[in-house]
């Protein structure tokens, strides 16, 4: 089963990279772009056919390593 995982800074936590990109977009003329947030995208294969078990594993991976839940939030899709 394949997991697609997104990790981003929590809302309310300053994202200096996002701010810099927002300024760059603005100077390119994209005046409507706002609230740019930069995150990480990860893909991995879970060797587990049972979706519930695979999901439990991916959640545990996110909690223990892939995201730092003090500053980041995560979401994932399983296919």
């Amino acid at each position: 089963m394949k997991a697609k995982i997104h990790v981003t800074l929590k809302q309310g936590i300053l994202d200096p990279q996002g701010k810099a990109i927002e300024h760059a977009l603005d100077s390119l003329g994209f005046k409507n772009a706002a609230n740019v947030r930069v995150g990480k995208y990860m893909e991995l294969e879970v060797n587990e056919a049972d979706k519930a078990k695979a999901e439990a594993q991916v959640k545990s991976m996110c909690e223990k390593l892939l995201a730092n839940t003090i500053i980041e939030e995560y979401r994932y899709e399983l296919q």
């Binding site: 200096p16 390593l65 003090i70």
Partner: protein, 239 residues
Amino acid sequence: MKIGVLVFPGSNCDHDCQHVFADILGQQVDMIWHKQTSVSGHDAIIVPGGFSYGDYLRTGAIARFSPVMNAVKEFAQNGGLVMGICNGFQILLEAGLLPGAMLRNRSLHFVCKDVHVRVENAATPFTGGCSPGQVLKIPIAHAEGNYYTDPVTLAALQANAQVVFRYCTPEGKVTAEANPNGSLDNIAGIRNAEGNVVGMMPHPERSAEELLGNADGRLIFTSMLESLKKRPLSMVGAG
């Protein structure tokens, strides 16, 4: 005293720490490879700066799972002195030995320069040789030193005098302009509730001898040695 300096793949301040303890302060120093599973027999453990595991995923995120970190946790739980510098501080945060997390510097730049920090708590084993409020000039070199924690944890840090160093002006004023990275409450270094684990972003090992033009950082290391000398024998070699 016998000091252990951890070495991860990508550590690059390990030998600076060894130099300070061995060559300047005349102590015995062991370099401890991250795959070792014990740190027993040491009086203090230094988690040095660098770019452990290439800063992959997040700074310190992979290093915290190195086998030696279980031994360091046990050492700390038994009261052993643990000091994390720069990347070492980031590793201690990821390992949960200190509260909070590091964000990218507000400026997005890697900042490498001398800064001033004020000693906010001079009653720790790492600052006992400093006077309260003393200003130390120590260099920083990092891209992720923007300390963050939730408001409840911050209040607890402040209430328990766990903020050990704050970025300040040369005169000792804690101002927004003196904050090099956007760190919450100008925090440059903190300790755990028990007081035996400290993490700091500035590099005292880079400012520990007159030959380099600045020996302010040496006070941190001499404070550690003085505090170790005063420890009861049962604590020596804890963990």
